[in-house]
């Protein structure tokens, strides 16, 4: 089993000394500054390419018609699949989930799925017989720390961008239309949660950094991932062990996280609007739409 390469003792000492004595991060960022976040959409609906500094993540949403689970006949199926392949970093192996991968997929699951961001009831086609199964595949293309925030952003962006084929039900016959027949429809989306990860450094975790890169992640003594939406609702908080941190500091982290989440939210809305404009070449989109206007949070 390949083990991850640790930074050398000199590198660690240098990083910590710069942080504690000079209050400087290795790449010169402010303590609460993210690396440049970039989002591009693919040609298809539901493909989001996110890069956060050198961390690159591709999320692809897809949908197919299946049979719903027997215990939930009125709900559709929604799954998030994460894969950390050796492409991202040499110590990841295929088909053997590392702890990082398990924790990442649990965090995404809690943030996006359990907080009810996607309205799974709207995925139901025929109760107990047919429903949509929406699946998001998260591929980590390049790993330079803070996978959680980038992956969460990519998943939310992919799902908000995704369009599933339109369907109709007439006399018990279910018809799924191709994109040529009817314009695909967006998913029933309720709110957009985003993850913000703080990393703590020092004996008692007194220095808190946002968006730690890979090197900082290997040196940190504790971390907390806070998921919020722009309405100020916490979807999930995970400080899974590590050096204990003052409760007051955690509350401060949460309030800074809220401002960051609002920035993410605005950025995503702008990007989605930009992409919609790009696709809407002749201005026919409004006329082709079959659905009614609704407020998307």
């Amino acid at each position: 089993m390949p083990r991850e390469a640790e930074p050398s003792a000199n590198e660690k000492a240098f990083l910590l000394k710069a942080l504690q004595d000079e209050q400087i991060r290795l790449d010169g960022r402010e303590f609460d500054q993210y690396r440049p976040l970039e989002l591009t959409f693919g040609d298809e609906y539901g493909v989001a390419n996110v890069s956060l500094g050198k961390t690159k993540i591709l999320a692809k949403a897809s949908a197919e018609v299946t049979v719903p689970f027997a215990d939930r006949p009125l709900d559709g199926i929604f799954t998030i699949a994460t894969e950390l392949s050796p492409m991202a970093a040499p110590h990841f192996e295929v088909n053997r989930p590392t702890e990082t991968e398990v924790l990442l997929s649990r965090l995404l699951e809690k943030t996006v799925r359990r907080s009810g961001a996607l309205d799974t009831e709207s995925l139901c086609l025929v109760a107990g017989q047919k429903c949509w199964s929406v699946r998001v595949d998260v591929h980590v293309l390049s790993h330079d720390g803070n996978l959680t925030d980038a992956a969460c952003f990519a998943v939310v962006a992919a799902l908000r961008h995704f369009r599933k084929p339109d369907t109709s039900m007439e006399n018990g016959v279910l018809t799924v239309y191709t994109p040529a027949e009817r314009e695909p429809v967006p998913l029933g989306w309720l709110h957009s949660p985003f993850c913000v990860t703080w990393s703590f450094f020092g004996e008692e975790g007194e220095t808190a950094l946002l968006d730690a890169d890979w090197m900082e992640e290997q040196v940190r003594v504790a971390s907390v991932t806070i998921s919020l939406n722009r309405h100020g609702e916490i979807c999930q908080i995970a400080k899974l062990g590590g050096v204990p941190v003052e409760a007051v500091a955690l509350l401060q982290c949460t309030s800074v996280a809220l401002t960051k989440v609002k920035e993410f939210s605005t950025y995503l809305d702008d990007k989605l609007a930009e992409d919609a404009k790009r696709r809407d070449k002749g201005g026919f989109m409004a006329e082709l739409r079959a659905e009614n206007d609704r407020i998307v949070g």
């Binding site: 702890e99 997929s105 916490i234 908080i237 400080k239 003052e246």
Partner: protein, 273 residues
Amino acid sequence: MPLDTSAYSLALLRVDGRRWNELRRIHAQIRTQAAADGSSYLEMGHTKVMCVVNGPSEPGPRRGATSGGGGGGGQSKNAEVAVNIVIAGFSSVDRKRRGRGDKHILELQSTISQALAASLHTHLFPHSTINISLHVLSQDGSLLAALINAATLACVDAGIPMTDYVAACTAGSTSTYAANDEGADPLLDMNHQEEQELPGLTVATLGDSDRVAVLVCESRVQVSRLEGMLAVGVDGCKQVREILDRVVREKGIKMIQEGTVERGVGLNDMELD
């Protein structure tokens, strides 16, 4: 099974008759297993867990998916804290089959391992492993808190040097996430029924400080509600720490009286009764 929340606002009593700031009965024992280096049994209300600690010892053959916190196994400068959780099939109402790769259990294992690794003096035992196995016998809410408390007690029993107790409990809030009502009371130590209905979080603190080792919230809740819940949770952790400390002291006194262990030098003038 909807929780009758209207009853709370009338009498300020919860479903099991507690007030907002009351813990459930905590009963704990240490040194329950003779064969192990350290062991404990803990009940928080109807949540019952057992813990067995072996080590620090030479690491055995590497298994595939152990959750190793605090270092990478045999080669590192620090002892590895390997946690293994078994949730008995009969522990909850619905018999849920959980596979070995259950992500929820893996997350719990990793959390406990990393929380304890920060309190245990793992640097004293290089190239070794501390094996903690936890068995869940009955579940009624606050599972992670009970597991952390049991693991702490068992580590104390095993005589592994540690900074202080890692004590945990849960806190919740009486109104659901949607209702933005200001009069919502925070609740201490949630049972299963409350956990299903109301937002809540699990807090673990180190000793009687305000420093939070573990904070896990898995439900949607207004950000303004967090401060109250955290304050009540941290306060509850201090109460739990007192209870754990009393259990350890009582057991120690009993062992001295029975002559199992020598009376320590510092204890000569201490009253044992």
